[in-house]
Amino acid sequence: MNQTAKTGVSAYLMKHMRDYGLLFALIAIMVFFQIVTDGTLLKPVNITNLFLQNSYIIIMALGMLMVIVAGHIDLSVGSVMGFVGALAAVMLVTWELPVWVVIPVSLMVGALIGAAQGYFVAFWRIPSFIVTLAGMLVFRGLSLWLLAGQSIGPFPKSFQALSNGFIPDLFGVDKPNVTALLAGVVAVGVLVWLAVQGRNRAARYGMEMEPFAFFAARNAVISAALMFVVWKLAGFRGLPNVLISMVALTVIYAFITERTTLGRRVYAIGGNEKAAKLSGIKTERLTFYTFMNMGVLAALGGLVFAARLNTATPKAGFGVELDVIAAVFIGGASMSGGSGKIVGAVVGAFIMGVMNNGMSIMGIGIDYQQVIKGLVLLAAVFFDVYNKQKQG
């Protein structure tokens, strides 16, 4: 009896190695850098920085996940991000347009760029690799032209707040920040409630169940980690604005991908485009929207990035597409499309972010950083493929 239960648990763990592995990897990497940086990694100011530094990667990874799930790739996001940042800078500083005009116009430009690329990919069936490679060059060039090789800044305070602002404490200015703590408690409550709901549903329909010990342990670890981070943030300046928008976007995109017909259809396209088409799914149109959505998120990434640096530089967004794509693949998305999760992509982005941050604190040169990041990406994908082969 005991024996069978045990093999059940280990069999389950083997099968879901990827899901747990990702979480373990993030925790392990954090613990590692916490130790080697003598505790600098998890200092309140550094945790805040971690979010600020990686927000734009995470925002773009959300869109990239959908593009990759649909069976495509977008190499242009770094350039588009740089271009939109430059455009926003010109509008704000040179033309002195108000922030409430600049932000929506920038997002619309992003949508147009995405739509233009999506048009060629979806309706003319030109491989996305080629279309977005062209886009990468075009928008890299356009941002250089727009900025004429100069940096433009600084920006009005209200625009900077997009990245550098913090949610004010509703309960006075004492530390720790009570609003932040309250938000943390609510978030943990919601997460646990959702997890229990999901488990009940699984039990009702006889789905494969996660062993209870795992379920409890996983939720306890996540909740504790969340509260720890919130506690640290509360001890500094509270919740950064960008963290709120990031969390909101992550929730929205997780909902879209997992619970809506729209999301389901994107997965079906990536899984088997012909079968999806013959099932009445408008594959071209959806692919087009996927790229348009990517364009909007790349534009948002550009705004957030420019706001944080308080200047638009010609080098902004250089090579960022690779970080974004790496985050999605580390997060477990399949290269051939049809599978991958929003949460995975976000965790993947954090893994990259923590490594960047930790290695910088340690003073590791940019040369070694690249090498290590590349190896981590290869290891993550190899782990995926290896697992699949062993199961198959």
Binding site: R204, Y205, T261, L262, Y267, G271, A275, G280
Partner: protein
Amino acid sequence: MTALLEMRHITKTFPGVKALDKVNLIVRQGEIHAICGENGAGKSTLMKVLSGVYPAGSYDGEIHYDGALAQFRSIRDSEDRGIIIIHQELALVPLLSIAENLFLGNERAAQGVINWPETFRQTEALLRKVGLNEGPGVQVGKLGVGKQQLVEIAKALSKDVRLLILDEPTAALSESDSQALLDLLLELKAQGVTSIIISHKLNEVRRVADSVTVIRDGTTVSTLDAHKEPITEDRIVRDMVGRDMANRYPERERRAGDVLFEVEGWNVWHPEHAERQVIRNVSMTARAGEVVGIAGLMGAGRTELAMSIFGKSYGRNISGRVSVQGKPADTSTVSRAIAAGLAYVTEDRKSLGLVLEDTIQTNTSLANLEGVSSRGIINDARETEVAEGYRAAMRIRTPSVFQKVMNLSGGNQQKVVLSKWLFTGPEVLILDEPTRGIDVGAKYEIYGIINDLSAQGKAVVMISSELPELLGMCDRIYVMNEGAFVGELTAAEATQERIMSLIVTE
């Protein structure tokens, strides 16, 4: 004459199926030997055994070639001995020239450097031999199918062929190209090349063959010798189809209602070759509660007909009218065709019907996500209930609906595809080879499902290459050949012989 090839008691089993059962084939030196049989009778399997695709040891029986026991381990082995197969789908690289194709993998070269003058000289000689009047540098993709076929034969000749095997060589050829090809075969025979030709076109078989072996259900039925007795098409047809029909089809009360589905004047052109008409002026009806069959050989245009009707998923310049329940139906996109009450169960369920990596539940709801969602948000519980409902009704054997469909057997996968389409609430179901690659038990269950559908007053159009299946299931059978309907038979009139003779007599 002595035998060049003798295959004795060849038995080849695949998991669960005996594809060949003690087949005997004797091919004499210098003759043209035809092999006839229905689709799936085992002709291709036999040729794969001969050419080493299925290596020695993976089958039982013996192959004697040129007076000695032969054990081919690969295609390379058999080619070295002069046995060369030309498949129905030609194995040419369209972007390379004729000369490059002829010597592909067999280049005239020294130390890896190609000797072009020599290559061109030999190519010209070979092209003269097969009567192809084209330069060696012409791109193969720019030639018509007939000329490509000749390039394939030239390629075989370049390898010093002794036994040339042609699988349906004239299936894609026009009348005059076919005649030219047959003449070439006779000429090669005069030069001492022995050939085996697999063909459905019995008039051609009669014209060129010295002897005919008929294969049915994986066994040799008869071997006819044209020099002893004249070979008639009737005789071949009788041998091809003459199996007894056991009660392999569930009984159904046959009562047809009003006309539910009607196609008039349907014409379709090939999507890439704009000048090729694939469907010619097809008209058909199906009544409520009726099961209507479409018989025909592979390549007759049955799948193309179904796919062009279903949301214009195939072809171009499509013209014609479709009506459902007496009203004109818009079937110009797949979603409109579904809305008009059509459902099309594809021939190839793995690449066209299912998302293999996904679960039974996700696949079941795929064509009607609106049915399990409100305002675009999927109701998981409802979705699971729907999938569970079909799992029970169709008796899909699986531990749960959360199983990935790639883990299911062919029969169960087909039931998932059927579930998906039934959940769209169709009036007309077009089933393309619904029992292909499915074991006998699951076939019976699928037939039962088809009968249930007709009892509910749906119209079922069934495309199948298995004649007994059509005869056992259908109220009416249309016979299709080369893109056109060449006959219509009621259940009472239809026999395998009549259908076959409608197909083979052009």
